[in-house]
Symmetry: C2
Amino acid sequence: MSARPDRTLRQFLGYGMKRAFAAIQTDVNAALAPHGLRMMTYSVLVVIRDTPGVRQSRLSDILLIERPNLVLILDELESADWITRTRAQDDRRAYDLRVTLKGRRVCDRASAAVAAHDSRMAAGLGPEERLALLDALHRIESNGRSSDDDADQVSRP
Amino acid sequence: MSARPDRTLRQFLGYGMKRAFAAIQTDVNAALAPHGLRMMTYSVLVVIRDTPGVRQSRLSDILLIERPNLVLILDELESADWITRTRAQDDRRAYDLRVTLKGRRVCDRASAAVAAHDSRMAAGLGPEERLALLDALHRIESNGRSSDDDADQVSRP
DNA sequence: TATTGTTATACTCTATAACTATA
DNA sequence: TATAGTTATAGAGTATAACAATA
């Protein structure tokens, strides 16, 4: 009957975003699986590599992961000997997180796989189009945070 | 130490997409909650409204929801008296799905809330930028499907 | 008192196998 | 035998409350 049964939804950014992100997630997880990683574990591994000595609270702020959920991801990375958790010298509640040599090698190989995945998904987009897309995504993320602030202001008059 | 601890991830479309989509999902679910809906239940309700008599298999194809998961969503919508499931005349295995009058009213109100949400999230994007974004998202989704086909061909030589 | 990491728990979305009743 | 819908179940990701050790 209707050629585009989802035409009402197609006008919304969220619908296109959900479908595009689902495609990306499926593809990147397939690309990461041979390396023993998933999107979330890879993201955490990369940020630890790029920020040696980072602590769990900071990491959860950076990646927008709740602290309790990060604990399980770190357990997984630590069990694989890809990161170390060592007590911080200046604060014995905290841990300094670092990637091991093994972890760095896995991270490098996985990063190549993710870069290839990214190129596949971006096929047909020119360099300017790609930059415009990244910029628009960042703008939308910011708009979401502003929305949070507004809600806070309204709920605490 | 690093001003952008996620600079490696920021170059990837998937990372920006995940963060933008998370912001959208939080905002749209907050917009829909007063109407008793979530992103998924709203999407299903809209497609049924726009495709009267649609069947569950077709609906799951349209929205990329697995049939078993759709059943629970429809149970929820039916319990609220927003849709009806009536046996199809030509095939007694199947159901014709339709929104009730009550369901149409909820859907209309929710759609206004979602439209307002969408405008909030798209703030700062011009009409052309917005169209370019929707087009890029659609392109990425297509690239994902091509990737699936390739994988099928490779795994079945 | 506040913070760091942790445990426990719950909810949503997603994914698969196996069942029933029809076709 | 194939399909429409269903049941049961399991895996991820996400979210909150409450706790121990430390600041």
